[in-house]
Structures are given as C-alpha cells and as structure tokens.
C-alpha cells in the first residue's frame, strides 16, 4: 500500500479490491470498526470549499472512533496570509496523524506529500484528480452489481471536462470485459487522449453516440454527469442540447430492470427528481458508499487492521 493517495493510479487493482473488501466488511459489521482509529486525528484541509467531500471524510473518521480538525476554506487558513502549501502541511503534520486536503491548484497534494511525514489523501486538486470519488464509484458498482467486470456502462453528459468520468474510465479499463458507451453532445466528447490511453491501446471496445434513448436498453450502469451551460459557445446550442441529456422516468421506460444509475453529485437538473423514487437510482446509496470507502482508505493508510 502506498503512503499517500494522490492519483487513483497510485493504487494497483489488488489494492483497490482490498479497499472494496474492507468497505464491504465495514458496511456489514460497523460495530467491529467503531474504535479502529481511536485516539487518531484526521485533518481536513480544504483550501477550497467542498462541504460534501469534507463531511464525508469527517463522518468516516468519526465512524472509526477518531477525531477531526481542520479548516473549510482558504480564507480561514493561513494561506490567506500567503503561507505556502508546504508550510501549512508541515505545521499540520505536527498535530494530525493523516491529512485529507482539497486545493484549487493542480498538483498541490503532491507538493504536500513532499514535506508531510503523515499520509496525504487528495480530496480534489482543481480539475485534476479526485481519487476518493473514483473509489466511491467503484465501490458503488461493486455493491450494485456484485462485481467489477462483465458489464456495459454508459457515461452520459459532459465527457470532455468531467474529471470523474476520465478517472473512472481509466480505473475500469483495468478490469475485464467491460463495454463502454460514451453518450454526449459532439462538443463534449471524451477527449482523444483518454480514449487513446485508457481504451484504444488496450483494445477495449467502446461506442460513441449523441443519443441517450437509443442506447439505454443495453446498459447495466448509467453514469450521469452535468452538462454545464458555461461549456457552450452559444446559448442556442445549449438550449438545443440540454434536455436530451436530462434523465426522466420516460427515458427509463426501455432500460433494464436492474440498471444502476450513478451520479457524482451535486446535480442541477440532469436527473429529474421523479427518478429518485426509482429503485434503480443508486446515487444516494453512492453518497453513503463514499463514507465507507473513505473509512477503509483511512485505515489502510494508517496501517490499522481490525
């Protein structure tokens, strides 16, 4: 196991499977883990606010019997006074046993790892990496399907700028017999380098389409993302396209009965609220899974076994 988690590729498939197994055991036997991190402290250093991710980390540590400290925005940290990431991390590693950090600058967690003498978890660095989201997605697929291979997964929405998509495509490309269906407007297709590195080089099959409804019957998993207005050059294109990527009960009529719908959240309007009641909607379960996989990760990086 590496000391830090900066990028999902820092973890081998075996290490990911191990984390998933631990998370599954935590879900099955939470009491067994409730004091696993007693007297340990997690620092959540959010140089950029993200309440959702921060609460998930803090809830994870509290669930392990540990405690938490930290800050939730740069304005409440000494960064506002011009301190470097390195100096902040140096200071905090004098108190905390492990650090989860989010930072607007790409690569900031690597800079932190160079000076920290405690493990660093990247909780998001700008538009670059967000490995615990990918672990959350993998655990969710595993819980929904009972496996991480042999299925067809559709990615829908903004595949160009969506880092969670790039990272999950990369992670899944290491498992066998997965069929990728890429559903997006032409303007927001998966970047060529991601297709090249993750799929083409490994000979993994994929199809690209602009039409969600035509492919929805073949999907086992549908990973929805937001189509953001600011990604479009003109209003007209946006208005023309936005509704075709909004998931509604009508569009699900021809979907498989055991489809799992995932979304990294927060959503704006790309999944209609009416879908929430559908048992195939897995995105709220996905939020819970985020806590459990973070519990498993914190334990592993601290070298704690139960």
């Amino acid at each position: 196991m590496p000391r830090n988690l900066i990028d999902i590729v820092d973890l081998s498939v075996e290490e990911i499977n191990e984390l998933i197994a631990t998370a599954e055991d935590i879900i099955a036997n939470p009491a067994k883990y409730q004091d696993a991190c007693a007297h340990k402290q997690l620092a959540t250093l959010f140089f950029e606010p993200s309440t959702r991710t921060r609460l998930s980390f803090e809830s994870a540590m509290l669930g392990l019997g540990g405690s938490v400290l930290g800050f939730s925005s740069a304005s409440s940290s000494s960064t506002a006074k011009g301190e470097t990431v390195g100096d902040t991390i140096h200071t905090v590693s004098c108190y905390a046993d492990i650090i989860a950090m989010r930072h607007p600058k790409e690569g900031a967690p690597l800079a932190a790892a160079q000076v920290a003498d405690v493990p660093i978890i990247n909780a998001g660095d700008g538009g670059h990496n967000h490995p615990t989201q990918t672990l959350t997605d993998l655990l969710t697929i595993h819980r929904e399907k009972g496996r991480l291979d042999n299925f067809t997964i559709g990615f829908c929405g903004d595949l160009k700028f969506g880092r969670t998509v790039h990272s999950l495509v990369n992670a899944l490309s290491r498992y066998s017999n997965i069929n990728f269906v890429l559903i997006s407007p032409l303007e927001l297709k998966l970047p060529r380098y991601v297709k090249e590195e993750a799929l083409k080089k490994k000979g993994i099959p994929y199809t690209q389409t602009t039409d969600l409804e035509s492919v929805i019957p073949q999907l086992d998993i549908l990973y929805m993302t937001r189509v953001q207005k600011e990604r479009f050059f003109n209003e007209e294109d946006y208005l023309r396209l936005k509704d075709s990527y909004v998931l509604t009960p009508e569009k699900l009529v021809n979907a498989k009965s055991d489809l799992s719908i995932l979304h990294p959240l927060p959503r704006v309007n790309e999944i209609s609220v009416a879908v929430d009641k559908d048992p195939r909607a897995a995105y709220w379960r996905q939020v819970k899974n985020g806590k459990f996989i973070r519990m498993a990760l914190i334990m592993k990086l601290l070298g704690i076994e139960v």
């Binding site: 990431v85 600058k105 790409e106 690569g107 900031a108 690597l110 800079a111 700008g126 670059h128």
Partner: protein
C-alpha cells in the same frame, strides 16, 4: 587559446548546427571564468554541418540537461591533452528544474520555490509531463 588542444576540459561535439548558443545559455557557460570556444558550422561527415563547444575547464556537466536538449551530442572528457572518456547521452527519465510548467492552474506556477519536476511520458515524441499537473511539454529544441 588553441582551440584544437585543450589540456583539461570538455568538448561537446555533434551539436546540431546553429544550436550551440542555446546550449551555451542553458548550461550557463557565460558564468564560467575559463576559456570557452564555440565553433559554428564545422564540417561533419555524418551531419553535413555541426557546432562544437570546447571548455577549457574540467566542468561537471549536467548530462540530464544536455540529454534533454539534444541526445545526439557527444561529450568528450579531455585530460592532459588526451580524450579519456566519450559519453553518449540519452533522454533523461526525470528533469528537475530544467523546464517549467506553463499551466496557470499548476501549483508550481503559484509556488515557484517548488522543484519543477517533469517525467518522460513518450520517448518517441520526446514528450515530458509535469509531475504535479500532468501537463505535457513537447521538446523545445
């Protein structure tokens, strides 16, 4: 200085014609007190024309930097007027503080005291990627 016979020093040979001044700058040869000769457009059997740099001082060159600039350069180490070693260069796997990231969202741009680290990602295309943000830089030379 007799440019044909250096006693103790370094001769950089097979430099692509016209590139010697870039190397002069990159290796900070302007900071040296010793004699440095730049020979431009020398005749070469293999290259047609080439540049040569002769440094009359047993300088400890950063071969990674030189390999990055042009891995076809040969480095001859001269001692007592004789060539004692001939080094061939290769593309280095890691560059520290040689090139700098241009991505405005990269932490190394806002915190310039950090080491600028680049890793070779595609040897065929000479592409290096920033270790922090993974932005690719194609070789400048």
């Amino acid at each position: 200085m007799n440019i044909d016979s250096i006693q103790n020093g370094v001769v950089l040979d097979h430099i692509q014609a016209g590139k010697s001044m870039d190397i002069y700058k990159y290796l900070h040869l302007d900071e040296l007190d010793c004699q440095v000769a730049i020979i431009k457009n020398a005749r070469s059997e293999h290259m047609g024309r080439k540049d040569i740099i002769k440094i009359d001082y047993p300088l400890d060159l950063d071969l990674d930097v030189l390999g990055y600039i042009d891995s076809n350069i040969t480095v001859n180490i001269i001692r007592d007027g004789k060539r004692v070693e001939k080094k061939h260069l290769e593309l280095p796997h890691k560059l520290v503080n040689v090139i700098h990231c241009k991505n405005p969202r990269c932490i190394t741009v806002s915190e310039s005291q950090l080491d600028a680290i680049f890793l070779l990602s595609d040897p065929a295309k000479h592409t290096y990627r920033c270790a922090y943000c993974e932005t690719a830089i194609d070789k400048k030379f």
